[in-house]
Amino acid sequence: MTLAEPTYPDDLRYHDQHDWARIEGEVATFGITWYAQDSLGEVVFYDPPEAGSIVEKDATYAEVESVKAVSDVIAPLSGEIVEVNEALADAPEKINEDPYGDGWLVKVRLTDPGEAEQLLGAADYVALLG
């Protein structure tokens, strides 16, 4: 089932719309946070964007959907999608089970790595959740 306890790894950068980015050089992996997947409930559908498409910081780039609701996924940073997590098509529940690992959504080649400075560290993000 889902991760029982709230978890916010220190090595990630967080967007206040409950998205995370793992920045490795000029490529970043995006996903949704423990809080986001917990609020949404069991994810049953992930509609991925296409590789090669452009994402813009703070704009919607995908949808995740649980039984009860659909939610837009916001890009924490800008860039071009270089890879999408195809495994989620058959196993969207990985977003609940492992939101920072197997539940990653896309990999993006960043167009403006400096934007990362606007994101939050784990402690600040947790503080935001209250």
Partner: protein
């Protein structure tokens, strides 16, 4: 928790899919105390109920239950509800909470006009627990030590040493009972059933379960702008009784309706939601009134009013789900269990 018609209601306890599966395979329980109850009593009760309810109330024996629509003069559905005959000329109506106040006013008006009948709001007298699933009856019998009425029957009992009503009805498509009990003892009864292994279920699972078996939700699939015929509820309308709206219903039955409520399944990805347009040949030909992900079928399902020429099961349509056209097929009721 979410606000619902003035009540704070849980959408889920552990998770909608788990709760849904518990009801399909074992036993789940729902606190549906928000439902309204109206007692109807007196020598004029039958004549009154025949006038306000769409079904043939004369066919309900003592201890029987019946589903009906409450229609306005135009045949529009004000509410859909269960009627239980508690004894000779004593009946109980269970209303949808959002409509309870309006139903009471409507019933009060007609009762004064027809006379010889008392209509009483008894919603505060009852908490309602729906225990549903293939093992629900066993668990309730064992835990509460009471005899249960068969399906579509009602019986009186003592639960927690207080008078209670047990109804062989539900909203899930599974066997089970609905317990109308004294609100004071409801928490203790809930705990006893919980200890006996009954899984607590929220509004989320209630919606997925009822939609899989194509039970209507008033406010979504039924509204005062729709008549029972286009909603597929002609089977619970006996126009010969002369109920309020019978003329309009008879006309709709005779002449047909422009649109018809149909169940459908999405073929492939996508989860339909209320308000999504239904497309045929690229043109809008209907609108989704209820939509969700079916935990049993693992696909998007829903109900929609569509142009009647498209209502035949098997017809291919598209659902516009937030700008994406998702192929779908009109199906027959119920969607669950799957045919074949």
């Amino acid at each position: 928790m979410v606000p619902f018609a003035g009540w704070e209601m849980p959408v889920q306890y552990e998770g909608i899919r788990e709760e849904h599966a518990a009801v399909r395979t074992h036993a789940g329980m729902f606190d549906v105390s928000h439902m309204g109850e109206v007692e109807v009593e007196g020598p004029g009760a039958l004549a009154f109920l025949q006038r306000v309810l769409s079904n043939d109330v004369a066919r309900v024996e003592a201890g029987g239950a019946q589903y009906s629509c409450l229609c306005n003069e135009d045949g529009g559905v004000l509410d859909d509800l269960f009627l239980y005959r508690l004894g000779g000329d004593r009946y109980l109506i269970v209303t949808n909470s959002a409509n309870h106040g309006a139903d009471l006013a409507w019933l009060g008006r007609w009762s004064r006009q027809l006379g010889d009948v008392a209509v009483r709001d008894v919603a505060d007298r009852y908490a309602m627990l729906a225990v549903q699933g293939p093992h629900a009856r066993d668990v309730v019998t064992r835990t509460l030590g009471i005899e249960l009425p068969p399906r579509m029957r009602v019986a009186t009992a003592r639960i927690g040493n207080r008078p209670a009503l047990i109804c062989g009805t539900g909203y899930t498509g599974e066997d089970g009972v609905e317990l109308l009990i004294d609100p004071e003892i409801a928490p203790a009864i809930w705990s006893e059933l919980l200890d006996a292994g009954v899984v607590p279920c929220g509004l989320g699972a209630r919606d997925t379960l009822r939609l899989e078996v194509c039970f209507h939700l008033h406010g979504n699939d039924l509204t005062p702008d729709r008549n029972p015929i286009e909603a597929g509820l002609g089977w619970c309308c006996a126009e010969g009784t002369g109920f309020v709206g019978a003329d309009a219903v008879a006309r709709a039955r005779r002449e047909g309706t422009a649109e018809t409520l149909v169940p459908f399944t999405i073929e492939g990805a996508g989860i339909p939601r209320q308000g999504n347009p239904v497309l045929a040949g690229g043109e809008q030909a209907g609108s989704v009134t209820s939509g969700t992900f079916s935990p049993s079928l693992e696909v998007g399902i829903g109900m929609a009013y569509v142009r009647t020429d498209l209502a035949e099961p098997g017809t291919a349509v598209e659902i516009d789900v937030r700008g994406k056209r998702r192929p779908a097929r009109i199906a027959s009721k119920p969607l669950y269990p799957p045919k074949g």
